[in-house]
């Protein structure tokens, strides 16, 4: 039975919506610029400090982690894009027009999530590769020379950088679905990324060690890590466990968001 517009039509419609609004387009550009620009800036800064580092510090340095440093900032941009994709519909009440055209809420949410993921994944991967090559150029000939992409771990690290941004975008989208308002969703997202680490920092160090590794940005660093260590030396999960946990967070907020979307009046 052909009930409701097909998923493909809704995806095409959501793509038109994504690219025809300034906020999402600018957000995507900001994410691209932050990943590349700040990655380069951090690489240059670290290179300048290589000489003054202790041998232990120098031995554990992960040049790829440094080259990808811009992602720590870009993750805020993707969260905002993700939230806005849905909250702007609620704040403008255009959600009513949208749902009148696409009554299947699951299909609408799926189409939005697919368009959002595709855009962030493509732009995020391109930015990650550019950031990698910038870092490789900066660290060329130093003690922290960048391993080549031919090494599986290096390639994995770059690819997962783009995936991390995508998952964080979906996380912001899920919060937007639940909270339905831009300010609430964006401040919750930034609080989770910024304030929780500060609160955790106030806890006893044994607690810190068991909690920190669950924080999204630490999971992201673990996803990018090629040597199983992150800066600061706190314990982390393996790359794939970290990826799975972050994906689990996304699945949790998205499921909650979809259930609420099905139940609530528009």
């Amino acid at each position: 039975m052909n009930s409701s517009p097909s998923l493909m039509s809704v995806i095409r419609s959501e793509w038109i919506k994504f690219r025809s609004v300034r906020s999402t387009v600018i957000g995507t550009i900001i994410m691209f610029v932050l990943t590349i620009g700040l990655g380069l800036l951090i690489s240059v800064a670290v290179k300048g400090h290589l000489q003054s580092m202790t041998p232990v510090e120098r031995a554990t340095i992960d040049p790829i982690q440094i080259a990808m440093g811009g992602i720590l900032f870009a993750q805020f941009a993707v969260g905002v894009i993700g939230a806005l994709v849905i909250t702007s519909e609620f704040s403008s009440t255009s959600i009513r027009t949208t749902l009148a055209a696409v009554p299947s809420r699951l299909r609408l949410v799926s189409a939005k999530a697919i368009v959002l993921s595709a855009v962030i994944l493509v732009v995020g991967e391109i930015a990650s590769f550019i950031a990698y090559f910038n870092g490789a150029a900066v660290f060329h000939g130093t003690v922290a020379a960048m391993p080549s992409l031919a090494q599986g771990l290096t390639l994995r690290s770059v690819l997962l950088s783009g995936l991390y941004l995508t998952l964080m975008g979906l996380f912001g989208f899920g919060l937007g679905l639940i909270l339905r308002q831009s300010a609430g969703a964006i401040s919750t997202y930034t609080s989770l990324l910024l304030i929780i680490p500060i609160l955790v920092f106030l806890l006893p160090s044994s607690w810190q060690n068991s909690i920190t590794k669950f924080e999204p940005s630490v999971l992201g660093q673990a996803m990018r890590s090629t040597n199983g260590v992150v800066r600061g030396g706190s314990p982390i999960f393996s790359t794939w466990t970290s990826t799975a946990i972050l994906a689990g967070y996304c699945a949790a907020v998205l499921s909650a968001g979809i259930i609420l979307m099905q139940r609530r009046d528009a």
């Binding site: 009930s3 409701s4 095409r12 038109i16 702007s88 403008s92 255009s94 027009t97 009148a100 009046d265």
Partner: protein
């Protein structure tokens, strides 16, 4: 055809729509009339599946809204002219809607031309005046060339020229055999726009019928001027009519027909100078019908 069957919507402590049942037939303009807050918009949202009914259902040509294959090709709705992302251009807004329902994109320019906003199609919808937004909303409703159309308070924000335009437009839609449901809280508007009227108050069905039916059945009044109003007043009151004085020495009588009043005056030997039956206007009928169901009635007046 729209069928509403025992539709009920309760919010936390209020019942916005209360066991409402009615049918909207094709080929005529049906006015959906009720005071502000009587549940007109909620009913329309329920018809479109935007809100979930507490009880009952609404069907479009026998099917619930969410099971329509391409809803925009079957139902066009203008609920809130401002329900558009303010940062998106009018054209892109319509384009996204068209694509979602597999409507040819050429149709976007057609409807933009039809409502006369093609010159501002590339401007941000957020910068539109209410009148322009209404036209954009109408363009969206027409996009799929649907046989069923719903408009919630479409006249709001339109200038007199726009109002004239929209009335002719509704007439044209109905003449083409479409089902047209137009809500309003203004009787005067419905009296000139609609063929059939459904009246609700506090979410409940009050009455329905043609404009003629509604005014015919309502008690009219008779204006009476005579050589001896005082005497007639007495006689009329004895005949259980309600009488009130009006300026320039006339009487407004209700509860008796003009013929009965004339006979009484003749019997009393008072010369009648004027005897004019006044048909109740739709406005008066509406006031009478919804008197008990106005959301914010004047309690202060009753307390006096």
């Amino acid at each position: 055809m729209i069928s509403v069957e025992h539709l009920t919507k309760k919010f936390d402590d209020t019942t916005a729509v209360d066991d409402l049942s009615f049918e909207v037939k094709p080929g005529v303009i049906t006015g959906f009339l009720g005071p502000n807050g009587s549940g007109k918009s909620t009913t329309m949202r329920l018809i479109l599946g935007l809100d979930r009914p507490t009880k009952g259902r609404a069907l479009i040509n026998g099917k619930p809204y969410h099971s329509l294959g391409a809803p925009l090709k079957e139902v066009g709705a203008l609920l809130d002219a401002k329900a558009v992302h303010p940062g998106r251009s009018a054209r892109n807004h319509l384009l996204a809607l068209a694509v979602s329902n597999n409507i040819p994109t050429s149709r976007v320019d057609e409807v933009l031309n039809f409502v006369g906003i093609e010159s501002v199609a590339k401007k941000r919808a957020g910068d539109f005046s209410l009148g322009m937004s209404q036209r954009l909303g109408i363009a969206g409703a027409l996009l799929g060339d649907p046989p069923v159309l719903l408009f919630d308070e479409p006249v709001n924000g339109l200038d007199p020229e726009g109002i004239k335009w929209i009335r002719e437009f509704f007439r044209q839609l109905a003449d083409e055999g479409r089902t047209v449901l137009v809500s309003s809280h203004l009787m005067s508007e419905m009296a000139v726009t609609a063929d059939q009227i459904i009246v609700i108050g506090r979410g409940k069905f009050i009455t329905s019928g043609s404009v003629d039916d509604l005014t015919k059945n309502a008690a009219g009044t008779v204006i009476l001027r005579s050589a001896n109003n005082t005497k007639l007043n007495q006689i009329l009151l004895e005949a259980k009519a309600a009488v009130s004085e009006i300026n320039d020495e006339g009487l407004r009588v209700s509860g008796l027909s003009a013929a009965a009043i004339g006979d009484l005056a003749f019997g009393a030997g008072v010369a009648v100078h004027e005897l004019t039956p006044e048909r109740a206007s739709l406005e008066e009928v509406f006031m009478e019908l919804t008197q008990d169901s106005v959301e914010y009635s004047q309690h202060a007046k009753d307390a006096k």
